[in-house]
């Protein structure tokens, strides 16, 4: 212990009042500081800010105990660090497989598969511009493609996360491949990344253009099917990342995500499903901006809200249903094309915010994402950044190390209030489905995006290299843009055409007819029929086209 301070050195009177005086005298005209979510930030936080002013229901709890402010597990990163889940996807199934086996050989235990944008659009490779095939993801159109993409991967042992929006044909292809290999579906584990059609509709629009009511039903069928037949699979990934990337403030993005989760959960309950069964298989996916403390507070506040919503509103009794499990990705919007190596610093700060915010899984962006699809060199640095943060920086020594900070606790309370304020707006609009259908959420996000852009354009928000600190750049140091091998893609396309010609047309038609009938019959399970279609040799484009025909074509609203 230090020696007690000599009484003569103690300042007389109220130290806080004295600090206020000195601060005012020295700062002159203080600048107003407001975070991205619109919350004013003071120059100093003290005991007087917390916990006296905190709302009554915002107790911290211990890690692993409700309301989980300090983390959803008792051990958090001290026990088991986050899953390092880097997104992977490029070229043909064979090119993807080679890279995947390489990643697995380096010690990765989880698979991630990003399909080509043509897959997101719900079309097959023979309906697409060849220039675009495989440039942003792997071209997987059939169960046979998936089997080749995952060659050498034990599907009973390896968790597979796939960006697989409605109607979840990639999982269907994987289940077909698993059955062919004799792997029990009950051993298959992983996540349908971004299965949240609402966020796709609102923000990044990478969904299949099936009209909203149809997308809603397919998701419900998917959750129900997986709960029953693939119990280790996480069929629901509720997404805030798209909305924050599109311009929502951190608080808005969290509010819309929680509102989406409530909508999806209540849709499941309306089908007669048990929240204690389906909620433990809900996961979340978020963006982490560079607004460090705000992001930490966002995640801490969200855990608290979800713990209350699941118990009080959704009626879940099993603690596993109360836990707010999330994957996060560092924000690409904060990255700059100017002085791109600076992005390594940005990603580091963003990742730290997510780690100290208590994430379960992390993707760090490559520094060159504002220049092109990430190069292998850029991707390697992104992985190394995680390794450094995990094993060099001592970030995992202590659970919730920012807990108890007067500022962080106050900000957590304030973010909670702001998140709940926005959730109430959505609630007043009739819930997330209706709020999205009416364009309310899209308009709010657009306004926030424009507000942020005007701050950057006016210089109020500094972006190093963009509106401040310009330097002459050496462009030759920039990474080489990775592009798939065009000849390999052409061969993949030729083989696909030959495959389609050689299949049993009758089997394909029977499966597609069955799928179409299921779309018109709510007692049937659409996803179950998608799996059957995959097993019958149907292609992704055929399955999507059938459902679009039956359930209607979804359009993005033109909202400026």
């Amino acid at each position: 212990m230090n020696k007690p301070i000599d009484g003569a050195l103690l300042t007389p009177g109220d130290p806080h009042a004295l600090w206020q005086q000195e601060y005012a005298a020295q700062i002159g005209t203080d600048r107003a500081v407001v975070n991205r979510s619109g919350i004013p930030v003071k120059p100093l936080y003290t005991q007087s800010d917390w916990p006296a002013g905190a709302p009554a229901d915002t107790a911290l709890g211990m890690p692993g105990q409700p309301p989980y402010t300090r983390g959803i597990y008792a051990t958090m990163h001290r026990g088991r660090t986050w899953t390092q889940r880097q997104l992977t996807g490029l070229g043909t199934p064979e090119e993807y497989n080679a890279r995947l086996l390489d990643v697995l050989a380096q010690g990765a235990t989880a698979v991630s598969l990003i399909p080509c944008n043509s897959v997101f659009r719900g079309v097959d490779m023979d309906e697409s511009h060849i220039e675009l095939l495989g440039t942003c993801g792997t071209v997987v159109n059939t169960a046979a493609h998936m089997d080749r993409a995952l060659q050498g991967v034990d599907l009973a042992q390896t968790s597979c996360a796939m960006n697989d929006p409605s109607p979840f044909t990639l999982l269907a292809f994987m289940l077909a491949a698993a059955k062919k290999r004799g792997t029990d579906w009950r051993q298959v584990s992983g996540t349908s990344n971004q299965s949240d059609y609402l966020s796709h509709y609102v923000a990044n629009h990478m969904f299949f253009r099936i009209a909203l009511p149809g997308a809603r039903r397919i998701l419900g069928d998917h959750i129900e099917f997986c709960n029953r037949h693939v119990p280790k699979w996480n069929p629901m990934s509720v997404v805030g990342q798209h909305m924050q990337q599109a311009g929502a403030t951190p608080a808005e993005a969290m509010a819309f995500t929680l509102s989406s989760a409530i909508q999806n959960a209540e849709d499941c309950i309306a089908r007669g499903m048990d929240p204690d069964q389906f909620l433990p298989r809900f996961t979340f996916f978020f963006d982490i901006s560079i607004s460090f403390f705000e992001e930490v507070a966002k995640f801490r506040a969200a855990r608290r809200i979800w713990a209350r919503v699941t118990r009080e509103r959704l009626g879940a009794k099993d603690p596993r249903a109360w836990r707010f499990k999330f994957h996060a990705q560092t924000s690409g919007v904060d990255l700059t094309r100017q002085q791109p190596l600076n992005n390594i610093a940005r990603v580091t700060v963003q990742a730290m915010a997510g780690i100290l915010g208590g994430l379960q899984s992390l993707h760090t962006d490559a520094y060159d994402e504002a220049l092109s699809c990430p190069s292998e060199f850029g991707a390697r640095i992104a992985v190394a950044t995680q390794n450094i943060l995990r094993e060099e920086a001592h970030l995992t020594d202590v659970i919730d190390p920012l807990g108890g900070s007067f500022y962080v606790e106050t900000l957590t309370d304030q973010m909670q209030l702001e998140i709940e304020r926005v959730m109430a707006i959505v609630e007043d609009a009739g819930g997330m489905f209706k709020a999205v259908q009416g364009g309310l959420v899209q308009r709010m996000i657009g306004e926030s995006a424009r507000r942020f852009q005007s701050k950057v354009d006016s210089g109020e928000q500094t972006v190093v290299g963009v509106n401040a600190y310009p330097v002459e750049e050496d462009r030759s140091a920039r990474p080489i843009n990775a592009r798939p091998d065009r000849a390999a893609m052409q061969a993949h396309l030729d083989a696909f055409r030959a495959y389609k010609a050689a299949r049993s047309a009758a089997d394909v038609q029977r499966a597609l007819d069955q799928l179409a009938r299921a779309a018109g019959d709510t007692r049937d399970n659409i996803f179950g029929r998608v799996v059957e279609a995959a097993e019958a040799g149907c292609t992704h484009g055929e399955i999507c086209a059938t459902l679009r025909r039956e359930l209607g074509f979804g359009h993005v609203q033109a909202i400026v």
Binding site: C116, N117, S118, F120, R121, G122, V123, E127, S128, H129, E131, L132, T135, C136, H200, N204, H205, M206, F207, R209, Q245, A246, G247, V333, L335, T336, R337, Q338, E369, A370, L371, S372, C373, G446, A449, R450, Q453, D457, V463, G465, V466, N467, R475, R478, N481, G541, A545, R548, F553, H555, V556, Q557, A558, I559, V560
Partner: protein, 172 residues
């Protein structure tokens, strides 16, 4: 591609902004701009922000949702008689912009300026310029730089595209 066969695949473009009444031919022309996305990507933060900035700068803006077919863009540009087409590309969709340029030339719209904004690697920028794209705006471009550029190039575009109906001031 299948979108082309789907009814209404183009989505509904929204027309914003108005040509102010009494805008005479001696004044600087009010640019008419189509802001759109072709290809597969759906990320529209950039196209929405740019469309709003052009509108707020007093221009006439036709905005479409993402995933437009090249043929649909050409049709819309023809029908709306735009001066400038702005293509937003975040995920390699710029690779089919040369196809758009060919289609515009075939439709007699060679004088319509095409600008591309978004993530365009250095080596692709030259490819786009060679294909006839007027300018590429990269991430970090101030909105004012885009609106000023569009305003600056419009008089020359109008002069090249001038037709009798144009001079009468009534194009639609």
């Amino acid at each position: 591609m299948s979108q082309a066969r789907e009814p209404g695949a183009a989505g509904s473009p929204s027309v914003t902004g108005r040509r102010p009444k009494g805008a005479g031919m001696t004044e600087a022309p009010i640019p008419k701009v189509l802001v759109t996305k072709i290809g597969f990507d759906g990320h529209d933060r950039g196209s929405r922000i740019v469309a709003a900035a052009l509108r707020d700068a007093g221009m006439e803006v036709i905005y479409t949702p993402p995933w437009q077919e090249i043929a649909a863009v050409v049709k819309l540009a023809t029908e709306e008689d735009v001066d400038v087409i702005g293509i937003s590309s975040l995920a390699t969709d710029h690779l089919i912009v040369p196809k758009l340029m060919d289609a515009l030339r075939e439709a007699g719209l060679a004088d319509t300026a095409v600008i591309v904004g978004g993530i365009v690697p250095d080596e692709d920028e030259q490819m786009l310029l060679d294909a006839g794209v007027a300018r590429v705006f990269h991430p970090g471009s101030p909105l004012a730089a885009i609106t000023e550029y569009v305003r600056d190039i419009t008089p020359a575009i109008r002069a090249r595209r001038a037709t009798p109906t144009d001079i009468a001031g009534e194009r639609r």
